[in-house]
Symmetry: C2
Subunit: 513 residues, 2 copies
């Protein structure tokens, strides 16, 4: 058995059965092994930023790792920006990066480079395979590592001669360690805070934002009057009619400070203490009041859902608060407005949909408008590196073939990884992408004066302007094989959105703003 075969068979034995990839010459023997074995679903991307975000989206929904297969340092480098986001998302992922054959290194050939240095900051586990006989074991350890601490990134660099050499074997897999529970006294301390009568917020992350974790959080909130929050950059958040209400911390510093200003206690469950996204001259980055006591009940590596369940047991008499859910928004018509777009989405979102949201300045009202839609999952940009939405949607759709995916993307962000549209078309994924085409990096226009730089002059304005020429998303999508329309009224938008939700494959709607 070659090293490549042992690698793939060990991954499969570890239930890693989906590979997002853009391979090159140094990965040919891994591709040959995939070819021979035939049990791994391989989803190609035309650019590695698509590959890594797709693996992230897959992991968020499947709750298990996919692997990526990437071409040397440059192939990995192209995937870094979305790995940065994946690292912040705390998802499990196994990256396989090809490398030149070991004896070839001394020649310092054109594609050679220091892969470990650029992979290390994005990998909680990192190794270069040294020979075929250990390739299986390396893969097994990578899988185990990726599933530790609730999910993390494991990166295995595989030289070409390790792949092509014989003498390898499948390695036994060790079960991943269960995510650790915080100590009993921590849970008791949190319970005491919640019983104190002081105004208390719980900032949730990880698996406390969906499923059993969210259910437990809802019980705690109902029993104690605590308010539930999600960080602005959340990984996955279950929303919709009948589910516990979770408020997202605002992006804008003053709004977030106001939102959190009433709380005297904050309990962190897998989340960091809330701070401003960026620093501003003369402004404090902390979002909570100085007198707010902050308790880290669980860190991001710990069992967030488990700790919320443990907390419910300490808060007897808890009951689910059944909130009266108002009806869904009415279908809007007339001219395009951001409120109207949000209402249309709130009115039409199908049950069990997955919403991938990188709508930036244009989409801030959508989550609230969808609050009364049937339960659905919301996936966000966790690291702030733009260009995540369309490939994240690819991965989520691959993991969830029975669910509809609504992908909301700003035009500037979308341009980073528009190649994802081709993968959607190739795989026939049921993704409806909405492009909010305001033809600007609108957030930067606002930040300019907010940062005390005055009003943007001609040059600054031109750098924030991505019209001139206008991007034509309908042609771009069609050029990548995805049917597309431009919606110039709310009527056209609702019609296109309905069509997208009923389609057997991907569609795109450009909304000029």
């Amino acid at each position: 058995m070659t090293g490549a075969e042992a690698l793939i068979r060990t991954l499969l034995a570890g239930a890693v059965d989906t590979c997002f990839t853009n391979p090159g010459t140094s990965e040919i023997h891994v591709v040959a092994a995939l070819d021979r074995i035939g049990e791994m679903r391989c989803v190609p991307g035309l650019f590695e930023g698509v590959v890594t975000a797709a693996a992230d989206g897959y992991a968020r929904m499947a709750e298990k790792p996919a692997c990526t297969l990437l071409h040397l340092g440059p192939g990995f480098a192209n995937g870094i920006a979305n790995l940065h986001n994946a690292r912040r998302a705390h998802v499990p992922m196994v990256n396989i990066i090809g490398q030149h054959a070991i004896p070839h290194h001394r020649h310092d050939t054109p594609l050679d480079g220091d892969i470990e240095s650029i992979a290390r900051p994005y990998s909680r586990w990192l190794r270069t395979s040294r020979c075929a006989s250990t390739a299986g074991r390396d893969a097994a350890e990578a899988v185990t590592a990726s599933r530790a601490a609730g999910g993390q990134i494991a990166t295995l660099i595989v030289p070409a001669d390790v792949s092509w050499s014989e003498g390898a074997s499948i390695a036994p897999l060790f079960p991943p360690p269960e995510a650790e529970m915080p100590g009993r006294e921590m849970v008791e301390r949190a319970a005491a805070m919640l019983r104190s009568g002081l105004r208390t917020a719980i900032l949730l992350s990880g698996n406390a934002l969906y499923g059993k974790g969210l259910e437990a959080a809802g019980h705690v909130a109902a029993a104690t009057g605590a308010k539930l929050f999600a960080p602005y950059p959340f990984t996955r958040l279950q929303c919709g009619a009948g589910l516990p209400a979770v408020e997202r911390v605002h992006y804008i510093l003053e709004q977030a400070k106001q939102q959190l200003g009433e709380f005297r206690q904050l309990i962190l469950v897998g989340a960091q203490a809330p701070v401003a996204y960026f620093a501003y001259p003369g402004k404090d980055s902390t979002l909570t009041p100085a007198e707010c006591e902050i308790l880290t009940l669980a860190n991001a590596d710990q069992n967030c859902a488990g700790v919320m369940e443990a907390l419910t047991a300490l808060l007897p008499g808890t009951r689910q608060l059944v909130e009266e859910t108002p009806g869904r928004p009415a279908l809007p018509d007339g001219d395009i407005t951001l409120t109207g777009l949000a209402s249309a989405i709130g009115a039409l979102l199908p049950e069990n949909a997955i919403v991938v949201d990188e709508s930036m300045t244009s989409g801030r009202g959508i989550m609230a408008a969808a609050r009364t839609a049937p339960p659905h999952d919301w996936l966000g940009n966790t690291g702030g590196s733009i260009g995540i939405a369309m490939p994240l949607a690819v991965g989520a759709a691959v993991a969830s073939p029975d669910r509809r995916v609504l992908c909301l993307s700003a035009d500037g962000s979308g341009m980073y990884t528009l190649q994802a549209l081709w993968t959607m078309a190739r795989e026939g994924l049921k993704i409806t992408t909405v492009i909010f085409a305001n033809r600007a990096y609108a957030v930067l226009k606002r930040e300019f004066s907010y940062l005390g730089a005055g009003d943007p002059g001609q040059l600054a304005s031109s750098l924030f302007d991505i019209g001139c020429p206008d991007l034509d998303w309908v042609q771009l999508a069609r050029g990548l094989g995805v049917p597309a329309v431009r919606a110039t009224s709310l009527g056209e938008f609702t019609q296109a959105l309905r069509g997208g939700f009923e389609s057997g494959g991907p569609t795109l709607i450009e909304v000029p703003l």
Copy 2:
């Protein structure tokens, strides 16, 4: 004066007057300084892979650095693949990367990350500015460093509070050290080898491949019978009627071995000893015969043109060999063939054109066909990271507004950085892009069996196939603001190529193969 103003004014004082950029919030104060000062030409890209390759293309033609302005770790990471190529090209470049304000770091906010670790492998000079008062000096040192050793990458990380704080000043610039000359005895040893009568090859790189360096190399070849070569991955090569003939080392291992098999001596001028791009099982990577004596006359950091001129002085009686230049190819017609496409380009290439070549498997005959065209410059992919051609063309065109640029791109490579087309349109650059649409990663199909992996099966074939759905480059280009046509015969191709060369802005020709 703010740190950002001192930074920009110092760059301008160092003749760095062109900035390729995609800024974000942490670079707002640098943008504000650019805005106020108004002397720096700023060229935006919709993705940082465009930005870094454009700075590379600019430097290859202008022979001085441009700067880039990039957004934090993820913005830099998106530029790495083409920085990998730029590092191999030995071009001068100054990267300015924004960073969070220093006090903001302790919060580990979403966009935070370890920029130095990922920048180090691609930067010969690297620094993080620590306060506004040293920002000018940091910029001055970055400019000097970028111009040392014939050109290298200098990276300066600038925290937001360094940018916005007062108390900065413009720093004096030290002249960059002249690229070092090899010792006299080295030049004499090379001269002795050239006089020996043994069959000798000279492998040229850097500025020995154009201008005075190439002229000197031509004298040496004519006087001694030595044969001139360029590495397969060259930076810039001047070609055309009346210029010394330089043969490119072949990509394919067996062809390169045959090409170099007759030589008993090899003199390296800025180039590395030729080796195979990739390793193959059971095959030696060295391309020269075992008995070939190899002399490194100059390394990549040394003055390649200067050493060739010094060599001519030691080889009296040198004269320029005037080769009889055959006429240009006839204009082809009929069905599309690779030979026909090459002939059309050879027939129509305008004088002083710049050809940017990432045509991969489709374009291997074009350089030979253009051999009899009027003198022109050829820019290649130096590091093998695909997706360089279109943005490299952007930079070359910005540096050379009076010259025509012909950009040759494979479809798979082009998809990596197609956002460059928008910058071409925005800046009205006279670039004619030809997309060789074979709808495959064709090189991988060949490498598969060449690597001993047999014939690609269904899965491998599907991963090398980028049709299904076909990419429609005409729609993609139009979606990005570039007029485009599809050429389905050689007649249509020559007509479109002529039209492109006469156009006042960019055009694109898709050639389905």
